[in-house]
Symmetry: C2
Subunit: 327 residues, 2 copies
């Protein structure tokens, strides 16, 4: 019995047909054996299109796996554009010798994550490369979402006086992956925050709250995201260290490993800006983990961290990589 | 000066911003630095969604490169569904140390190929993995096309009596890549057949020719594609060896390397079935390289090759891989 992926599984021949039938189509009932998927666009909707590749290491970590991450990542890119996630594609690049059981697990995980987000995996592609030519498995997900015609979030819609909110604790995904990679664990366990953001965004938009900007906090963490949003605009972002939601385990791990939680990635968190009058309602809709973490003033495109001891330091994007391959 | 891709180029930080600005956005002017691309769907159109990853080796070969292949592959999946290619995504997974000049070349090649096909590259993602964790570069392209509501090609729309046509010589892509890999060359050079198929499909549909099925001939070659199309249907496909368009260089290379041209991949060829009354017009529209290569009869889902010496042999999908990593 074959229990590993062979080069021939990527061939377009009979072995590949077996793999598709027994693994891929079994997990993704909406994928047809055609060159693509056909769909009707709901009347009055605009389309949002996004893509993301995932190379996380290890593949399985507390609170998730590469499959769940791959679906949520693309779902969240759509949600940040104000679009309801609808159709997802799955592009697999697999190293020869990869365990078929792990592949089944990952596909099942993708299928569950899509269902949770209200999206369907409708088209896919599978390639196999030789042993040593890839590190186990890489996954690309692309996504199509449908946005209301009223759509329009953009860094330049943020106004002086707007309040900055995040929907939950920072850096939990990055630290969970790092712990998985190093084989250490926390008590109680610290799960990745990987989650679909559309339900929260839908609740906000449904309540008539239209953020100036929304951005998921992934690679580079809050610090890089804020720096990117402020850059080039006549605005400064002010972050209040005392208000940043950082789990005690994340804080401790950062102390020990020498990371700054401001730059550690999340995969189920986002930053948004709202007018002062909408802060209370926004926090209520986002739930108890959300926090108001600062505000925007007129300025010159800078980000400042107002520290707990009363200092002010500039927040700049990291030049390079603090935690490689966390997504 | 940095002339290679560093791990930090995939970080979400300042190095990544540089890479995006100087390489990716420079090549793809339609890509915005947001989480996705927004588009209006033309009224009355249905959407087709497809994805494909490319791991070809070598990256550059006679007549093309991985970038051109990646765009044409997705354009062709859309064309085979009768959809006009509109929006393309570009997901890059790059090995640390990859030459920035090669990346620039590949992105420029993608941009040109998209333009040739009338499509736009509108969204992207870039990941970097460590040295030895991937083989130079892998590219995912996903695509959205717009199909007329009259759409509907499917293997079960093929009828007994239909004629099978291909639009050009078989196996030229596979042999060109193999020659590139082995460092051998032909005189005159044999270029890959990689090309966008939409112009030919558009011409057919515009002339009122609606094929029963269209399928691009990629991995597994004509033999695997025909076997897949016939499987499970009350039809047999009959291929006439004497009618198969095989370039003399492809035939000779297959002889020497032990390949069967029936199973060597193309990247700009497709098989289609039309009723006997439409054969002449179809061949005229597809141009002088096209050929009528056989016909369909009532049967039991089999494919037969009628050989030049008067024999008949069954054509089955290959179990595994004859030429790995040709796309």
């Amino acid at each position: 019995m074959i229990d590993k992926v062979l080069l021939g599984h990527g061939s377009g021949g009979a072995l590949m047909a077996d793999l598709l039938k027994n693994v891929v189509f079994a997990a993704f009932p909406d994928v047809q054996p055609t060159d693509g998927a056909l769909a009707d666009v709901p009347a009055g909707m605009r389309l949002v299109f996004t893509t993301d590749s995932f190379v996380v290491k290890p593949l399985f970590f507390p609170g998730g796996d590469i499959g769940r991450l791959a679906v949520n990542g693309t779902v969240n890119d759509l949600a940040m554009m104000g679009a309801e996630p609808a159709l997802i594609s799955c592009g697999l690049i697999i190293e020869e010798g990869f365990a078929l059981d792990d592949l089944r697990w990952i596909c099942a995980s993708m299928s569950r994550a899509a269902m949770e987000a209200g999206a369907r995996i409708v088209t896919g592609d599978t390639k196999v490369v030789g042993h040593g030519e890839a590190d186990s498995i890489f996954i690309n997900t692309s996504g199509i979402g449908y946005a209301q015609p009223v759509y329009g979030f953009s860094p330049d819609r943020v106004k002086a006086g707007d309040v900055i909110i995040v929907n939950g604790g920072l850096g939990e995904h990055g630290i969970a992956v790092m712990a998985g990679r190093l084989g250490v664990s926390f008590a109680p366990e610290l799960p990745s925050d990987s989650a679909p953001l559309w339900p929260q965004v839908k609740a906000l938009l449904g309540a008539g709250i239209v953020p100036g900007v929304m951005r998921d906090i992934t690679r580079g963490g809050l610090g890089s995201v804020a720096a990117e949003l402020a850059a080039g605009l006549p605005l400064d972002y002010h972050l209040r260290e005392a208000c940043l939601p950082v789990d005690a385990r994340v804080a401790k791990a950062c102390d020990i490993w020498g990371f700054d939680p401001l730059y550690v990635a999340s995969e189920g968190r986002f930053l948004l800006s709202v007018g002062p009058a909408q802060v209370e309602e926004t926090l209520r809709l986002l739930g108890p983990a959300a926090a108001s973490i600062g505000e925007v003033s007129a300025g010159t495109g800078r980000v400042f961290l107002h520290t707990t001891v009363g200092g002010v330091r500039p927040v700049r994007p990291l030049p390079g990589e603090m935690l490689p391959r966390i997504c």
